[in-house]
């Protein structure tokens, strides 16, 4: 029996009835959104913005793929092509992937999962959003000025001399970095200090562990990116020549600094998705994780070992063989933790009571694509193989399998999983599963041929290509159109559900994780009294205790809800 009081404050309703107060309907002014310190509203602000940046990065991708229908010029000139792939990478990595899951879903559910009213520093949370927005604006300014053409990696010496809009681009990313750091500080302090009484570290939902690990990486790695980009800016604008050999510089050192951040950055992108997956697998198997501690500790393991592997991006850069050997061995180590997670998720489903819903379909897609991508990661971490695959489409395919096949799929899983909680509405499952299938098919058609292309020698970032590669390029491009259409379709049915979907109950999935202990959508302060979570977050041996006041029927566990459908 739970003692959660979720505050049924009646609000006069248009047609003479009363409506329950939620974080959405408590105020409608622009000011109440623009100056909100409610973590849920901030999460929604981030969600809407990141969906737009996803659209922008996706549009660039479709343009790139369409250009590659023919080996010569299709409709872009070479300089535009270079700027297009650069801005695609920058927008996707920094404006979408890194913020996506932590700032939208993390902000929304983290305090609720801990039984808290908000994060540790709510005003700082709002500030992080505006800093993010400022960074986005600067990148848009850079786009308006023609964009940058150095590749998202900004390698010197070219980045110091490129005629493109390097400085506004790096300025935008520099600013975005501070938003990430603030979010990281906020999440770490929240996890340490705001857990409800009685919730030890090993009673937190697993999503929190992954957010915590991600926050550690964000806080420690992002400053190194900041200084690397600041130096690129100084070199470009003032010609300080910090990597110019004539003035004592060494271009390889830029790569060391850049990848010191950018390798942990890929773990910033994948760990939150792994957190979503942990929640989804347990909920839709109606089962506790096969090893809670394995998932928790492996997240920390990835965070730590991920910092030791950056040189595997530099095997052909001119780095010493000693370092190459060290980085090769260390890179193999980090795969162990991902493998532990994969086995744990799969074993969780065993003897579970599996219910096939859209988030779980995304999990299956994730499983296949992440394992595929991860194994190719181990392959390219082998220096003797990487010297052939480096800077080919093999690498492009590898990281897209992880970033899109892993992170984006995880994001989509989270978007569907928490849709009812955030909006109070349910999307249509048939559309959901269709969408997930089409996304998977579109993705695979786009990127699997790229492994073949890379292995056959097609270099990345090349504008012209040998006509012998054209058939595979065409397949990949058609796949990208399918993927784009599937994403648009997903946006479509979710928007329809937002305005006209059936009302969702507090716990439509019959989950035991703690964010389901408040109504959908939650009231402004999540809980009005300090909640007492009598059950473990993954205890499916007993029925869900229900949520507070039964007088308002919408709060009780939905007897005919989707969980039983």
């Amino acid at each position: 029996m739970t003692t959660i009081d979720v505050g049924v404050i009646p609000i006069p309703h248009g047609r003479g009835g009363v409506r329950r107060e939620t974080y959405l309907n408590i105020a409608h002014t622009v000011k109440s959104w623009a100056l909100t310190t409610d973590h849920k509203r901030i999460g929604i602000l981030y969600l809407v913005t990141t969906i737009m940046t996803l659209g922008l990065g996706g549009a660039f991708a479709l343009i790139l793929r369409t250009e590659h229908l023919t080996p010569q010029m299709t409709f872009l000139d070479a300089y535009t092509y270079n700027r297009m792939f650069t801005m695609h990478g920058i927008v996707m990595v920094w404006l979408f992937m890194i913020p996506s899951i932590p700032t939208a879903f993390g902000n929304f559910v983290l305090p609720i999962m801990l039984g808290a009213k908000d994060v540790a520093f709510p005003r700082l949370n709002l500030l992080s959003y505006y800093i993010y927005l400022a960074g986005v604006v600067w990148v848009l300014v850079a786009l308006w000025m023609g964009g940058c053409d150095t590749g998202w990696t900004f390698y010197t010496p070219y980045s110091a001399h490129s005629p493109s809009a390097v400085v506004p681009t790096v300025l935008g990313i520099f600013i975005l970095g501070w938003s990430t750091i603030i979010t990281g500080v906020n999440f770490i302090v929240t996890t340490h200090t705001m857990r409800v009484k009685g919730m030890g570290w090993f009673r937190m939902p697993l999503f929190v562990w992954n957010l915590y690990a991600v926050s550690i990486i964000q806080v420690l790695a992002t400053p190194v990116l900041a200084i690397s980009l600041a130096i690129v800016g100084l070199d470009h604008w003032f010609d300080w020549g910090l990597f110019d050999p004539a003035r004592g510089g060494d271009p390889v050192l830029y790569q060391h600094l850049f990848w010191f951040y950018s390798h942990p950055a890929v773990y910033i992108m994948i760990l939150p998705a792994m957190g979503v997956i942990a929640e989804v697998v347990c909920t839709f198997s109606h089962k506790n994780p096969s090893s809670y501690k394995a998932i928790a500790y492996s997240a920390l393991g990835i965070a730590f070992v991920g910092f030791l592997t950056w040189g595997h991006h530099m095997f052909v850069a001119g780095m010493s063989q000693f370092d190459a050997a060290a980085f090769g061995v260390l890179s193999m180590l980090v795969a162990i933790f991902s493998a532990i997670k994969v086995f744990t998720w799969v074993l969780t489903m065993r003897k579970g009571s599996v219910v096939l819903r859209t988030p779980l379909v995304y999990f299956f897609a994730f499983l296949f694509l992440f394992v595929f991508g991860g194994m190719t990661g181990v392959a390219v971490a082998t220096e003797s193989l990487d010297i052939h695959w480096h800077d080919t489409y093999f690498i492009v395919a590898h990281f897209h399998f992880i970033m899109v096949g892993g992170t984006l799929t995880g994001w989509l899983a989270g978007l569907h999983y928490w849709f009812p909680k955030m909006t109070g509405r349910m999307y249509n499952e048939r559309w959901g599963i269709t969408g997930a299938t089409l996304v998977f098919a579109g993705f695979f058609l786009t990127f699997f041929p790229q492994f073949l292309l890379g292995n056959a020698g097609m270099p990345r970032r090349y504008y012209y290509y040998n006509p012998v590669y054209q058939p595979l390029h065409v397949v990949s491009t058609v796949g990208s159109w399918l993927l784009g259409a599937a994403m648009l379709m997903t946006l479509g049915y979710l928007l329809v559900a937002l305005f006209a979907g059936p009302r969702a109950s507090a716990n439509p999935w019959d989950s035991r994780s703690y964010e389901w202990y408040t109504p959908s959508p939650p009231p402004k302060h999540n809980f009005t009294k300090e909640p007492v979570f009598a059950l473990d977050p993954y205890d499916y041996t007993v029925p869900f205790p229900g949520v507070g006041d039964e007088a308002d029927g919408s709060l009780a566990r939905d007897p005919g809800g989707a969980a039983n459908g």
């Binding site: 808290a116 009213k117 908000d118 540790a120 520093f121 709510p122 750091i181 990281g184 500080v185 906020n186 770490i188 302090v189 340490h192 200090t193 705001m194 806080v219 420690l220 790695a221 992002t222 400053p223 190194v224 900041a226 200084i227 690397s228 130096i231 100084l234 003032f238 010609d239 300080w240 020549g241 910090l242 050999p245 004539a246 003035r247 004592g248 510089g249 060494d250 050192l253 060391h256 600094l257 010191f260």
Partner: protein
């Protein structure tokens, strides 16, 4: 309004602990922010030991050392200021924090003087300037570019620290923080001490350590 418990914390102690933890995590990120430059310095010195040695000889040792003393004293005054605030001696604390800010300003003043002296000798960042006609080794050029980079970034942090302490001084004077809630000053002081620690490393690297022979 005096420092009050913000509504989502249980009590002042928890709030203080959260603020302190937040500041230390931020400090860890500041350490990493400077790390890249320290790594560049170390690697470039390894690659250009002679050039770096020549450059150190031409740096303004006296002023740099005075600045070291200035920052060490300022750390002492702000630490004492925190101590006084905890004992309820509001005025003494305010005075000490004020002295700290003044010492920070002295540091920046001396730094500006040093930069002007370098410009006078034709030492500019990026290997630009008449000085490099006679001392044109790549290592020497890189030393001074790094010098401007790292001491410049450090100076920005000194200024930021002065602003933080200034804001806290205002709060002390208005009795918004005091014996009942001294932790904001303690946390702000911790930021100031970090700025001092960074200089503790910058000083030997740019003023003290002589160069090695050509490899």
């Amino acid at each position: 309004m005096a420092e009050q418990v913000v509504e989502h914390f249980e009590d002042m102690e928890k709030q203080a602990h959260a603020a302190r933890l937040g500041m230390w995590i931020f400090l860890a990120s500041e350490v990493l922010f400077f790390s890249g430059l320290f790594a560049l310095y170390t690697t470039y010195r390894t690659e250009h030991p002679h050039g770096f040695g020549v450059a150190v000889e031409h740096n303004t040792l006296a002023w740099g050392s005075i600045n070291t003393g200035v920052l060490l004293v300022s750390s002492y005054t702000v630490a004492l200021g925190v101590h006084e605030l905890r004992r309820g001696r509001q005025r003494t604390s305010a005075l000490l924090v004020g002295v700290t800010i003044f010492l920070g300003a002295c540091f920046l003043g001396i730094k500006t003087g040093e930069y002007l002296k370098h410009f006078g000798e034709g030492i500019y960042p990026g290997g630009v300037g008449d000085f490099y006609r006679e001392h044109g080794e790549p290592g020497t050029k890189m030393f001074f570019t790094l010098y401007y980079c790292m001491t410049g970034l450090h100076a920005v942090h000194v200024f930021a620290g002065m602003c933080v302490l200034g804001f806290l001084l205002w709060k002390i004077v208005r009795r918004e923080i005091g014996e009942w809630a001294p932790h904001p000053l303690a946390i702000g002081a911790v930021y100031w001490h970090l700025v001092d620690v960074i200089w503790i490393f910058l000083w030997p690297l740019f003023y003290l350590i002589p160069g090695g022979s050509v490899r």
